[in-house]
């Protein structure tokens, strides 16, 4: 049985040398990763300023800059204060900063003001909203699947857990071991309830399919492993070109993993004859049968009951302990749990995972001291950093806030997206500058409503609450009442958390939405309550220059450059009303508004 790593890798391991990263001709390699990442990243025009030496603030920087130094790779300088502020607000809270927030930060002369800003954001309400929403996406929480009450309670539970900073391993154990009469009355129970597979009649749940689904999703979210393929067939003869580790896995071994949920019954509660999206979870089932009926997978062709064994170690559960407790223990204490988790958050902050995609780890390609066969490369861009971060995360109580703080305060995170001199594709895998990303659909929505100060009161379905930001909703369905907004979010690739995937590609209809959709155009005019109306009516009156500067701060989190200020002021001076509406439209359509660099 495969064992990933016998112990924690040494923190001080020397960085990998380039020749360890050998390309497989038909495989995602660090080199072609670089090309594509490089193409999808962008800089707003290079400068020729020297990068200078940046401070190495924590272990992230030791590895990232250590590796660049060893390999002679130049890197971008630190981002400006305004660039950093916008970036860190977006990444930590999902929102752009207000003008006052930017100005206060920029004008501060405190030497550690970036650390202080990060500290003030972590744990703030927008932070909790963003990451609760993020967990809702991860767990695909939506009322259609787990009921309005279910998704609302899951939201509340996650929010509270993040607020009191529950150790992440404990959160995961709660989700995996929850027992409940109803997921409408037990927050973490919705995690398992969400993966139920419904049979031919709407009231039935299909036992082994549900166990499979839980096994697939828990391995994906908490171990970064994609067991989907081996849940139907052996890896052999299928995955040789895809994933070395998965190639060695057998469907029977997957069944053993799923058998940890063999006694778990996720049953749909019914009232009268109609099925409700309400589920009970207990452990009174009979076990996982290799002959169990399948509606979603290739038919099971075995005949025996399957004994559980953990797919990474072969460990069998202590017969005196509940199966799911044993599973939760095995999964959260395995080093791959911490590695997958830090990598997932790293991708969230840095734009690209150390292993990317984050749910496609190939465990046979992780250890530089034990390189994969000829033609394959080590999968992580920074294997030692990944191990060191994971070790640090585990040794410090699986503290998500601490982990995010470490990332956001690192110089590696704070590099400019603007690279001095000529950018080379090979630099990307070093994180030699910040990757640029398009804002997510909810981030664009939130940026537009906050910049214009034109909000909708969004009712949370099944509650008396209303919220103002998309990232405060409990699931995408909460926005449905607002046809224009719901459609706007949809065009920018919001997931319905049901079967659709989030999509951050660009498209023609997105440009149409930003230029001419009612969601946008209705927010341009100086209607009562809007920022524009307030700015125009302010006493003493604001000069054109002042209004222009304020608008640049509101949309782009920075003052206009002199040339921009002159151009915009001239526009406003000609016809104030029309000029200001035009300027709002222009700022909303500037690419630096919809991208986070």
């Amino acid at each position: 049985m495969f064992v990933l790593v016998s112990g924690w890798p040494a923190y001080t391991q020397t960085p990998a040398t380039p020749d360890m990263q050998r390309a497989h001709p038909a495989q995602g390699t660090p080199d072609n990763r670089t090309t594509a990442s490089e193409l999808t990243a962008a800089v707003a025009g290079g400068t020729d300023e020297p990068a200078g030496v940046v401070e190495r603030k924590n272990l992230i920087d030791e590895y990232v800059f250590g590796k660049m130094e060893a390999d002679g790779i130049p890197h971008a300088p630190l981002a400006s204060d305004t660039d950093f502020a916008r970036r860190v607000y977006l990444d930590l809270t999902g929102r752009i900063p207000t003008p006052d927030e930017v100005r206060n930060f920029v004008s501060s002369t405190e030497p550690d003001k970036r650390d202080a800003l990060v500290d003030s954001l972590i744990g703030s309400r927008p932070f909790l909203s963003k990451w609760t929403y993020w967990f809702g996406d991860l767990a695909r929480s939506n009322g259609n699947r787990i009921g309005n009450d279910g998704k609302n309670l899951f939201y509340q539970w996650t929010y509270n857990a993040l607020q009191i900073n529950t150790p992440y391993d404990k959160m995961v154990r709660h989700m995996l071991t929850a027992e409940a009469v109803s997921n409408w009355y037990d927050g973490p129970a919705s995690y398992l309830a969400r993966w139920v597979i419904i049979g031919a009649t709407c009231a039935d749940t299909v036992h082994e399919d549900t166990s499979d689904e839980i096994a697939v999703n828990s391995a994906m979210h908490f171990l970064g492993l994609n067991l989907q393929c081996v849940s139907c067939h052996d890896g052999r003869n299928h995955l040789e070109k895809v994933n070395l580790w998965l190639t060695d896995q057998k469907r029977t071994e997957f069944w053993q993993q799923a058998a940890f949920f063999g006694k778990t019954r996720v049953l749909r509660r019914t009232e009268v004859s109609t099925a409700r999206d309400e589920y009970s979870i207990d452990d009174l089932g009979e076990g996982y049968s290799a002959a169990g009926e399948s509606v979603t997978r290739v038919p099971r062709n075995g005949k025996d009951m399957i004994e559980p064994a953990f797919i990474l170690t072969g460990e069998k559960p202590d017969p005196d302990k509940p199966l799911r407790d044993e599973f939760a223990r095995m999964i959260t204490t395995h080093p791959q749990f911490a590695r997958a988790t830090v990598n997932m958050f790293w991708a969230g902050m840095m734009g690209v995972g150390i292993v990317d995609p984050v749910f496609d780890f190939d465990l046979n390609r992780q250890d530089p001291n034990n390189p994969p066969p000829e033609g394959w490369s080590i999968q992580p861009s920074h294997p030692e950093l990944l191990n060191a971060l994971a070790k640090d995360f585990a040794e410090n109580g699986y503290d998500i806030q601490r982990l995010l703080r470490m990332m956001a305060t690192s110089s590696a995170y704070q590099l400019s997206s603007k690279f001095p001199g000529e950018w080379k594709a090979a630099y990307a895998k070093y994180y030699a500058r910040k990757f640029v990303r398009r804002l997510t659909s909810e981030e664009i929505y939130d940026a537009i409503v906050s910049a214009t100060n034109v909000f909708d009161d969004i009712p949370i379905r099944g509650t008396d609450l209303t919220v103002h930001y998309a990232t405060e909703t409990r699931s995408p369905e909460d926005m449905r009442r607002f046809t224009n907004a719901a459609f706007f979010l949809n065009v920018f690739g919001q997931t319905n958390r049901d079967y659709s995937e989030r999509n951050n590609q660009g498209a023609i209809d997105q440009a149409i939405m930003l230029m001419n959709s009612p969601f946008v155009t209705e927010r341009l005019a100086a209607e009562p309550g809007s920022f524009l109306a307030e700015a125009i009516g302010r006493e003493p009156p604001l000069s054109d220059e002042q209004v222009v500067a304020e608008l640049y701060f509101r949309y782009l989190s920075r003052p206009p450059e002199p040339e921009e200020a002159a151009r915009a002021t001239a526009l406003v001076a000609t016809n104030r009303q029309q000029g200001l509406e035009d300027l709002q439209w222009l700022l909303m359509n500037k690419l630096d508004f919809i991208f986070n660099d």
């Binding site: 004859s273 109609t274 496609d360 046809t483 319905n496 995937e501 001419n516």
Partner: protein
Amino acid sequence: MSYFDSLSTRREVIRAGAALGGGYFFHSLWKPTQVKAQGRANPRGSARFCIVLMLDGGQSQVDTWDLKEGPWTPQDFDIRNVSGGIGRWPYALYPQLAERFDKFLLARSMGAWDAVHGRAQYYIQTGHPLNLALAKEIPGIGAIVAAEYAERRRDTDTLPPYVAMNVVRNQAGLVNSGFLPAKHSPFHIDTTTKLSAYALAPEDKPDFDRRWKLLKEFDERLRTATSLAAKTYRDYNDHYEGAVRLMSDPRAASVFQLDPAEQTRYGNSRTGDACILARNLVEADAGTHFIFVDVYNWDQHSNIYGSDRPRRGGPNAYPSTHQEVSLELDSALAPLLDDLSSTKRTDGTSLLDETLVVCMGEFGRTPGPLSIINGRDHYPGAFSALFAGGGVKGGRVLGKTDAMGAEVIESGWHEKRPIYPEDVAATIYSAMGVDWGKQIQETPSGRTFYYIEPVTAQSHIVNFQEVSEFFT
């Protein structure tokens, strides 16, 4: 997958596990070495356009197009005998289609593989089972048609090849272009939002032109940067250029226009509006070839004949009873068929001749007595679908179910089994002139993608086929 997928582009996510060299996704996919035909499909090419109306939720066959009367049938319900194999027909629900049997074909031998909305709807959109391990790379049928039609796209074409309407509530979401380039993705329209967004009214044009010109000045540095690293911004600017071309095309103004008199003729509903747009898109012939419309609210678990559920939410609300959804569909589909068949190209062929119209749910509903809350649950065993135009010979019924409507007893075509979503996909491809025997090798996950799963692929034992009987 997760929120994190959003942080790099989807292409990037797929690419990192890619089986091909760097930059692969940034070039045309269509390299001869990667695309192979199995050599078994000979597409008929009888259509250039395809309109799919998906009855979201699952239409009850036994209460509509394969009518089975019973104690559940309301008293005084207008049901009439119709010749030509149609049999008993619910005039109360489909009075207008009843006048147009010659224009369409009913297949009563449909079968679905799944009884859960999202997974079954995914089948309709792709012709493939939902495999979450591969979902990110599987393109929808519309995206494949868009890709196949890319070579014939004219310089003057400004409308997107694949348009999808009213899909916000589809549980499968809107299946994207998968591993195909993003330009083949569906262009998404919600008919209840302002359609003027897509076409500039003459009175709005000066304002828009002024702003667009200003934008190019204000944002010049980002939009025109030439460095390799600025490609993200340049690509996004390309979307803007395409958008402006579309919005400024005079044809767009007539396509994205809903005339109140026409809306009335199409039944004053969002499905009626979608059908008007679909007709306009076909008529304009300005680049759009595949149109997918989600016709919502067929999931009648309760009170299927009851009228005790008033329509909520004003004029844009979805209809909520079986009568309402049926009458709405009837009112929208009939004038669509009329308009397509009465509009002739210069060579005398009608638009309907070159447009395949497919109308079907993702599955049927449980036959027999109603449930104790007077509804019907999901049923994949047998249901009905409507096909028209694009070479389909109308005025016929194919297939037959048993007395209850529970089982297909005559398939009505050369395969002695129900018509599955894969067969419908093959039929669409064939009519559209797409070789449905094609396979694409070396997808990002290192697999082979078949337009239609062949019998030789592991675990597929059904020989999926074009339903050639539709056309002969």
